[in-house]
């Protein structure tokens, strides 16, 4: 009986996570377009629903109804596989992320995480690395110059930014003496990691921007010079898959920033429910992502590589050394 209850709970949590991650891009696209509009003194979508609230739904219906076009010379198998490969890892990763301590509902303790892995951080970094395959396959399979160029850029970008990202979180792991995200958050109950690890956070956030392929590091899609980058040839629902994956990664980086550096669900000063604190912090980071997008221009490709290898990598290494020395 207990086993069934536990299995049912896990199934419920996974279903909830999948539903949330599939539905969240809808309000996020609306938010992004609204914020973009207002930052450019426009209004953004206004006509579908109240202040354009139903615009993402209309867009979704449009994408579903569109022709699902596959170029003649495309590698059909890879072309169909790529959006799924891009979509799955961000969903898998959320299994390892805790959203709070347990709450008791109807007498049973329900933990606000699908699984408490002791190597959660490693798991996340490893699984999110798979996402790059979707991008590379998509660009390669489309058999288009723009797409190949876009996926080439992404490939180099993802690989070179995963290294500083991985190094940046080592400082956090050293402080918490654990790779479990739950333990990392518990270790931040008094003082958030951002106090001890400002450089680590900086490196992590910049690398996260690059991983999520957001401006100023969105060279993979660079509308100006590559058409639409690796998903130039995609249309309809497959294109939507790429978009959903992009938003899921943006969410993931926001959630990771909060969990690793901003104390997770630990609040300060104002006593609010832990989950609310968590959501507020994540919302701030999502806003920061959008805000940055409409503030900064795009980096040139050599600048991107230089920032990754010549600035972020030494900074993250120095951060590890300083943290280690301070520990001793």
């Amino acid at each position: 009986m207990d086993l069934f209850l536990a299995l049912g709970l896990i199934a419920l949590k996974v279903a909830f996570l999948i539903a949330a991650l599939l539905l969240l891009p809808l309000p996020l696209t609306w938010l992004e377009r609204k914020i973009a509009g207002h930052m450019q003194q426009r209004m953004g979508p206004m006509r579908v629903g109240w202040h354009g609230l139903l615009q993402p739904l209309a867009d979704g219906v449009k994408l579903l109804a569109k022709e699902d076009h596959i170029p003649t010379d495309a590698d059909r198998l890879l072309f169909k596989l790529a959006p799924i490969l891009a979509l799955a890892p961000p969903f898998v990763v959320f299994v390892a992320i805790p959203f709070g301590e347990s709450v008791s509902v109807l007498g049973t303790e329900i933990t606000l995480y699908a699984s408490n892995m002791n190597v959660a951080l490693l798991f996340i970094l490893a699984v999110i690395g798979i996402e790059v395959y979707g991008v590379i396959f998509g660009g390669w399979a489309a058999n288009s110059k723009y797409a190949v160029l876009g996926s080439l850029r992404t490939c180099a970008q993802m690989i070179s930014y995963e290294i500083p990202m991985g190094f940046a979180v080592i400082g956090v792991v050293m402080l918490a003496q654990s790779m479990s995200l739950l333990d990392i958050v518990r270790a931040q109950a008094d003082v958030w990691n951002i106090v001890y690890q400002p450089i680590g956070f900086f490196v992590f956030f910049v690398a996260g921007l690059a991983e999520a392929q957001r401006i100023p590091f969105d060279l993979a899609e660079a509308e100006g010079d590559l058409g639409a980058g690796f998903h130039t040839e995609y249309s309809g629902i497959r294109f939507a898959f790429f978009m959903v994956s992009e938003y899921a990664i943006m969410l993931l980086i926001s959630v990771l920033s909060v969990v690793l550096f901003f104390g997770g669900w630990n609040g300060v000063l104002i006593p609010l429910p832990p989950l609310l604190w968590f959501l507020i912090k994540v919302a701030f980071f999502v806003y920061l992502f959008i805000w940055l997008r409409f503030t900064l221009p795009r980096y040139r490709y050599d600048q991107l590589m230089a920032i990754g290898w010549k600035v972020l990598l030494p900074l993250s290494l120095a951060n590890i050394i300083v943290t280690g020395v301070a520990f001793i």
Partner: protein
């Protein structure tokens, strides 16, 4: 000394991304400023200035008689030959147009017909919403031209308006004539 401080200040600013902070502050301030969007078909409509060159109209004189003397000067000067005039003699012995057709799909709204007219009979008015599903509907005859709205009295303002869709006919109706200055929301330095 001050130069050293300056250099030091610049270095500190560089280290703490002062320029990035400034940029973020700027975009945030824009985010909370008024938007300049004119919500044209749904809520607002722009009224043209008196000198705006919109849809042609034919004028009547004080007796209500059409002013046009069918001299065909407008048809001659028209660079895209979109005006066709056929004269006739009415019962008072005056030369008047029996047929006065303008092909709006060819017109380029240069206003030369207005300049050429010796009788001050034709002019370009304020109407700018006359799109159509068929190019045949864009050939406008004499009586329709007489009924078109004339030059705008005021103009350059944005007034509240409403989108009306009545079978094939899509119109944006403005209720008032005094609006607000559209430029007031535009931030200039």
């Amino acid at each position: 000394m001050s130069r050293v401080v300056d250099r030091g200040g610049r270095w500190i600013g560089w280290a703490y991304f002062a320029d990035l902070g400034k940029a973020l502050a700027l975009t945030l301030s824009y985010m909370f400023s008024r938007s300049v969007t004119m919500q044209y078909p749904d809520k607002e409509k722009w009224l043209p200035y008196p000198r705006y060159r919109g849809h042609h109209f034919l004028k009547r004189d004080d007796e209500g008689e059409i002013k046009c003397v069918a001299c065909e000067l407008c048809a001659r000067i028209c660079p895209c030959y979109c005006i066709e005039v056929v004269p006739y003699e009415d019962e008072k012995g005056n030369r008047r147009p029996a047929k006065f057709e303008i092909d709006m799909s060819r017109c380029l709204f240069c206003g030369l017909c207005e300049d050429a007219c010796p009788a001050d009979a034709i002019a370009l008015g304020q109407q700018y919403e006359f799109s159509s599903f068929s190019s045949r509907d864009l050939v406008v005859g004499r009586d329709d031209l007489l009924a078109k709205p004339g030059k705008a009295a005021t103009g350059g303002a944005v007034v509240a308006a409403q989108l009306r869709t009545v079978e094939q006919d899509v119109r944006v109706e403005a209720s008032e004539h005094q609006g607000y200055n559209w430029w007031r929301n535009i931030r200039r330095r």
